[in-house]
Amino acid sequence: MTAPSAPVARRSVSMRRVFTYVGIAVVALYCLVPFYWMVVSAFRRPQDQFDNAPLPSPWSIKNFTAVFKPGVGFQRALLNSLIVAGTTTILVLLVGTFTAYALARLDFRFKNAVLGITIATSMFPGVSLIIPLLKLFTNIGWINTYQAMILPSLSFVLPLAVWNLTTFFRQLPFELEQAAMVDGCTRGEAFRKIIIPLAAPGVFTTAIIAFIAAWNEFIIALSMVNKKEMQTATVSISKFTGAYGFDQPFGTQMAAGVIVTVPLVVVVLIFQRRIIAGLTAGGVK
């Protein structure tokens, strides 16, 4: 993909270039500077965690080893997060795509009502949902299960997924689908072979959003699970403590934050490539 606006100006191409690069640099710095602080804090020795020096002196990986101390069970927590976030993402895409397709492509009554109800569920403060849910899940024996974390995460992301996918599906020309069906495709085939590839940017963006939302979910995962083997990474981080009393292990928490964030960025990058790949395969050159 080339920049849509890049090859424009005849007058001062180089100036624009400079501006573009300065803009890019500013945006990247804005995003990275606090993250840089996080990384640097993670690499300080625990007893140096209050330093404001721009670089750790001396460097130390003590915080990282503390994260993976045997008693903490952080590897398992990462795995749990992966299971919960992965399943949530797949379910969101599956369920959300169906719903969005219906909303974008089919004609039926109450369409706006459905859209309205869907988004209305994103309007209630999430913290007020916990106790009723806890009661419900306790009654049906779902405490300490993956579904007790997946289902709420699913419901938190579904409204956005449905609305977003609906918008993308709606932007695609109807004629293509109709043409395909005239050519003998079933509606399902037309959907799978034509709509989905064209809507790839929307689908993968939704996937990224769902994955990150589920990966970072905290309060439900904390409330619905009390077994260490079942806890997710964010919950595990909240349980980090220093050696004594009020000692807050900031460095260790930041190290865990780095560990939790890096795979996420990798996942995002892979999906990002798919957005581009999806389009290229789609033939916009």
């Binding site: 007893q47 806890l134 306790t138 260490k228 004594y244």
Partner: protein
């Protein structure tokens, strides 16, 4: 939200019966509820697997203790449930489980200020006093484990504020002993230049409640009197609050101390910016670690100073209680006895440096060698005052923080703040 049963559950009828009996006994003027608790003991039945819910096991020592127990009691295994590090989050999880009447948590590790709330809501079961030799515990810690003269928890870990001071700077200024009164402290600060005088924890959070109560108690006032009645609008309380208010105004207390919680305060002290600091014992070991601490070996602790003599620190700590909704309460009771035994508390102090509740350990030569502050801490603990015992403690501490913070930041005069606080506490605390 939380659906609360609109009928009285069966178990609570029993509790009401016990409560009624306690009242009868009290009416007879004995005030002792020994027999009442004996009754309660009969209800602690059932043996089998249980859980222990508490904040993160910092040293891993609790897990060791649990392992020891499990190897001895193969049919009564204990599982440790770690809750978040944040105290509010711990309470929230426990309340949620109580609201849903879940039996997930058996033994609860409660902050001392939660006892009344958990007891009055019948979320925890009364414990038989006979099971514990309460005379062995430091008396103030036992106070925090009772509600209306009934024992609801066993004291496990305790805490009290201490005065950290810079021995090197005092020595250089020719001062031989740490200050016992606020006036002495001010005089000492006059002699030492180049550092801030004093700080505590004055951000708007639970630490402010502790620091405010300490100031009031150390000036001879009370927040809540012995009968549990609020009595904070007094000249003594005003002197206490004014110590802090004037401290901020005069610069005795640095103005950034209004943002201090435990860790920023520790950092200021370790950077060498403070001559005196009110802090919990946990800082001792950390500030003595070479690294960014610039005060290694240059400080000591003393009891907090007060208006006319040594001050009265606020009591912190944790107690062990049994969830009313749990199964296997007999096992839970034995497990609590095990955790509060001398051997276990000793091992716990060595591993986590959390202060024990058993008085005998403070005289242990080996422990004294490792924790030189133990004698000072014991003296402080014996002089310590609990925070107000209130069923609605959350509202009480919020009210204290609101008015104390308003006074410290100059939004209210200390007279206004105390009058307002007295008024609010009167509505919140039922005698």
């Amino acid at each position: 939200m939380a659906g609360i049963s609109r009928t009285v559950p069966a178990w609570s009828r029993g509790a009401i019966a016990i409560g009624a009996m306690a009242v009868v006994l009290a009416a007879c003027g004995s005030g002792k509820t020994g027999s009442g608790s004996g009754d309660a003991a009969g209800r602690l039945s059932g043996r089998g697997p249980i859980t222990l819910a508490q904040g993160k096991d910092t040293s891993g020592n609790v897990q060791n203790q649990v392992n020891t127990w499990n190897s001895r009691h193969p049919k009564e295994q204990v599982r440790l449930i770690e809750l978040p590090e944040d105290a509010d989050a711990q309470r929230q999880q426990m309340v949620q489980n109580a609201q849903t009447k879940s039996d997930a948590y058996t033994v609860l590790n409660l902050d001392v200020v939660w006892t009344s709330e958990f007891a009055a809501n019948r979320w925890i079961t009364p414990l038989p006093k006979a099971q514990f030799d309460l005379s062995k515990f430091l008396p103030p810690t036992v106070q925090t484990a009772t509600y209306r003269d009934q024992l609801y928890a066993a004291p496990w870990k305790t805490d009290a504020g201490l005065l950290y001071y810079r021995t090197d700077l005092l020595k250089k200024a020719g001062i031989s002993a740490p200050p016992k009164t606020w006036d002495e402290m001010k005089t000492d600060c006059g002699k030492v230049k180049g550092v801030n005088c004093y700080a505590g924890q004055f951000d708007k959070y639970e630490g402010l409640t502790c620091n405010f109560s300490e100031a009031v108690d150390s000036a001879g006032g009370v927040v809540v009197d012995d009968q549990g009645k609020p009595d904070v609008n007094t000249p003594q309380a005003k002197q206490g609050l004014d110590f802090l208010v004037q401290g901020f105004k005069s610069g005795l207390i640095p103005k950034e101390a209004i943002t201090y919680q435990e860790e920023p305060a520790r950092r200021a002290f370790e950077k060498g910016n403070l001559l005196f600091l009110r802090q919990w014992p946990y800082q001792w070991a950390l500030s003595n670690k070479p690294g960014s601490s610039k005060v290694v070996g240059k400080f000591d602790v003393a009891p907090l100073p007060g208006l006319g003599g040594p001050g009265a620190p606020t009591l912190g700590g944790h107690n062990l209680a049994i969830s009313a909704f749990a199964k296997n309460k007999a096992t839970a009771l034995d497990f609590i006895s095990f955790l509060t035994s001398e051997n276990t508390e000793r091992a716990n102090l060595l591993a986590s440096s959390e202060a024990p509740t058993l008085a005998s350990l403070y005289g242990d030569p080996e422990l004294r060698k490792k924790f030189p502050y133990l004698p000072v801490l014991k003296a402080s603990l014996l002089n310590a005052k609990p925070r107000p015992k209130a069923v609605r403690y959350g509202d009480v501490t919020a009210a204290i923080q609101e008015d104390a913070y308003a006074a410290l930041t100059g939004k209210m005069t200390s007279d206004q703040a105390l009058a307002d606080l007295q008024n609010k506490l009167g509505q919140l605390i039922q005698p």
